[in-house]
């Protein structure tokens, strides 16, 4: 039954496998779609989609697949057969634009009027092969710039059906490309482990399981066993850019912060903030209040060099903020003279360092890319994405 939906879903990036598809077939067979479109929509969604991040892609695909369904109150077997549409895959590629172009001309009032007419039509000739009212409403959605307001006008319970639900695309905000998933970050952070067991430590920890095992197999005569302690030895120093252009990435950075702090498997974790570039002081909070700060020198002299240093920032500032003396001159004679000097001091102190960048290299104009390039030359730089984080963590562990 409508196997092409499966392929369309897969083509749109949903990892639907045969297991789920068979479950759907079973569900249909058992009538779990309760013979309604809304039911069919829900049945498909809860069996085929396993993450709210994919709901939006599913909604779009569903709309697309069912756009020309003849309107009927019930989803009968005939209709299900009818839905077997091999044309949809070829159809799909160009549908969007054509429909969008066609619809460009409709105002919201017109959409509303069309809906009303359609509704009237349908109540008059119930099964008269009138086409699905959502077609027009839906195609409005195809043009993603238009809000789905139009179709809500129907408002009555009769219209509470699948196409509207899907058409609302409530889950737009959950799409992977714009949600940040601390959990995924956490998964990536799990790479940042170095077990002391790997380091050659003497076996000092009492091994309950093996003691019991060996004692038991020894006929009850005690055999004490020890093992190497296994704990994560990784210590992390996280320095995050805050404010200004970084405000765009506030959520992303906060997701990273939460993932790092929730990870809880580091031996030690220090987090400080700076603005644009670390200078003489590091701040405890992203608000960068000087009463809540410590001298960068303190970090440099007190945290041992085996801390893994993770810098997070867009590396985009006015060149003088990185190279000029106004911001960065330290108090010590012969000490750092500018932001870049501070960065080099940090780099010199901490052997394992990466820079995570939430922003891509600016490709417009030279101005902002200057500091970006200089910093990227100094530090291994990775995008602040799940993949980038994973790469970065591997880099931090490389010996």
């Amino acid at each position: 039954m409508f196997t092409d939906l499966l392929y369309l879903l897969r083509r749109n990036g949903l990892k639907v496998s045969l297991t789920e598809w068979m479950a759907l077939m079973e569900g249909l067979h058992k009538g779990l779609h309760s013979a309604s479109f809304t039911g069919l929509y829900h049945l498909c969604r809860c069996l085929l989609v396993k993450s709210e991040a994919d709901f939006d892609a599913f909604d779009r695909t569903f709309l697309e697949y069912f756009k020309d369904v003849p309107f009927q109150q019930e989803v009968s077997q005939e209709l299900l057969d009818w839905l077997d549409r091999p044309d949809v895959l070829t159809d799909y590629a160009n549908w969007d634009e054509i429909q969008a172009l066609k619809n460009m001309g409709f105002s919201e009032e017109e959409i509303e009027r069309m809906l009303r007419e359609r509704m009237a039509e349908q109540t008059e000739e119930h099964n008269g092969g009138s086409y699905w009212v959502g077609t027009h409403g839906m195609s409005m959605f195809g043009n993603s710039g238009l809000s789905p307001k139009g179709i809500r006008v129907g408002g009555q319970s009769m219209y509470r059906r699948a196409f509207r639900v899907a058409g609302e695309r409530k889950f737009r905000d959950f799409r992977r490309d714009n949600t940040l998933d601390t959990r995924q970050f956490q998964v990536a952070l799990r790479h940042l482990r170095q077990f002391s067991g790997l380091v050659d430590l003497p076996p000092t920890e009492f091994d309950v399981d093996r003691t019991i095992q060996d004692t038991a197999s020894n006929g009850g005569v005690l055999k004490v066993r020890y093992k190497r302690p296994r704990e994560n030895t990784v210590k992390v120093l996280l320095l995050m850019d805050s404010g200004g252009s970084m405000d765009y990435y506030a959520q992303l950075c906060s997701a990273l912060f939460q993932a790092v702090s929730k990870s809880g498997h580091f031996k030690d974790l220090r987090v400080y903030y700076f603005h644009n570039c670390p200078y003489g002081r590091l701040y405890h909070a992203p608000t960068l209040l000087s009463r809540d700060s410590i001298p960068t020198d303190w970090v440099l002299s007190n945290l041992p060099g085996d801390y893994k240093l993770i810098l997070v920032g867009d590396a985009q500032m006015a060149p003088y903020e990185l190279m000029g003396g106004y911001y960065g001159r330290g108090e010590r004679a012969g000490g750092p003279q500018c932001g870049m000097d501070w960065l080099r001091l940090l780099k010199g102190r901490f052997r394992h360092t990466v820079w995570l960048n939430p922003s891509a290299r600016p490709d417009w104009g030279e101005y902002w890319s200057q500091t970006y390039d200089r910093i990227a030359k100094e530090f291994p730089m990775f995008p602040l994405t799940v993949d980038g984080l994973e790469e970065g963590m591997k880099k931090l562990l490389a010996r």
Binding site: K15, S17, T19, E20, A23, E26, G27, K30, L32, G39, H42, L43, C46, L47, V49, K50, S51, E52, A53, F55, K170, F171, D181, T182, R183, Q184, Q186, V187, R190, I212, Q213, T215, A216, G220, A250, Q251, S254, Q258, A285
Partner: protein, 269 residues
């Protein structure tokens, strides 16, 4: 099979009801995700109550192993008994204690098994349960016994997170995401808890609540359980309704992080 239609003290959206029934009919685990406090745990309680079945809760912690849910062989006790010449040391069965999954399998009647917060455990945890959840049986090598479900339990699994659950596991589940309740649904939920709530109070509370949730800088957004507690605090304190939106009294009930409270104090007007 009886259908789940919601319960007296749990407000379920239509979608949630459908998903629950689909899971029961297809005999697949129902995986529930959603923000904290959106009633994931409570759903299982409501289903159990509505269907009049026993609820068995397996709370997952970071140290939980799949094996813990099946059975634990208490070797230490056995060793101890043997050293002191206790009775029945030969009877291994005596030292095998069933876990929550085992309990659900051996229950006299069909039970509801809630595996709560599965994402807390190790990443591989769900994979270790695939076979048992599919076949609804497991083997105890120590005694040679196979524990087989008398009645397939209804399995409900909750998770706060996303993506970390392995694909093989996800493929077997019916999935539902509890979207954060909109105002309408929230009103219903609140009324379930406070049937006689003052209308003006309710309106003010909802206004303040959704306004706070909209502040982008708030890290831990207040959820359903917080609004429920907040109303109680407000009622108990006899707060003047007009002050609610303006002053947000008992803020600590809504926001649990100091930084969030600071944000609110700075931004509220």
């Amino acid at each position: 099979m009886k259908e789940f239609r919601g319960s007296q003290n749990y407000v379920a959206s239509e979608e949630l009801l459908r998903a629950a029934n689909i899971a029961m009919v297809l005999q697949k685990p129902l995986l529930i995700k959603g923000e904290p406090g959106t009633g994931k745990t409570m759903l299982a309680e409501a289903i159990a109550q509505a269907l009049g079945k026993e609820l068995i809760i397996w709370n997952i912690k970071s140290t939980t192993k799949a094996q813990d849910g099946l059975y634990v062989y208490d070797v230490v006790q056995r060793l101890y008994d043997s050293q002191f010449g206790g009775q029945g040391v030969d009877d291994i069965e005596k030292y095998v204690k069933l876990g929550k999954l085992g309990e659900a399998f051996t229950s006299q009647e069909q039970a509801i098994l809630l595996i709560d917060e599965i994402d807390k455990a190790d990443l591989e945890f769900p994979n270790d349960l695939l076979w048992e959840l599919d076949r609804m049986e497991f083997h105890i090598p120590e005694t040679g016994r196979t524990v087989k479900a008398r009645h397939r339990p209804v399995v409900i699994i909750t998770s706060n997170a996303e993506k970390e659950l392995p694909d093989a596991f996800l493929r077997r589940c019916v999935f539902h995401y509890i979207a954060f309740p909109d105002r309408e649904l929230m009103e219903e939920i609140v009324r379930v808890h406070y049937p006689d709530i003052d209308e003006r109070l309710l309106a003010q509370v909802l206004e303040a609540f959704y306004k706070i949730r909209q502040l982008p800088q708030i890290k831990k957004k207040p959820s359903t359980s917080e609004i429920v507690d907040w109303i109680q605090a407000l009622q108990h304190g006899g707060v003047d309704v007009r002050r609610i939106v303006k002053e947000v009294p008992y803020l600590g009930v809504l926001l649990k992080k100091n930084e969030d409270m600071d944000v609110l104090r700075r931004q509220w007007r």
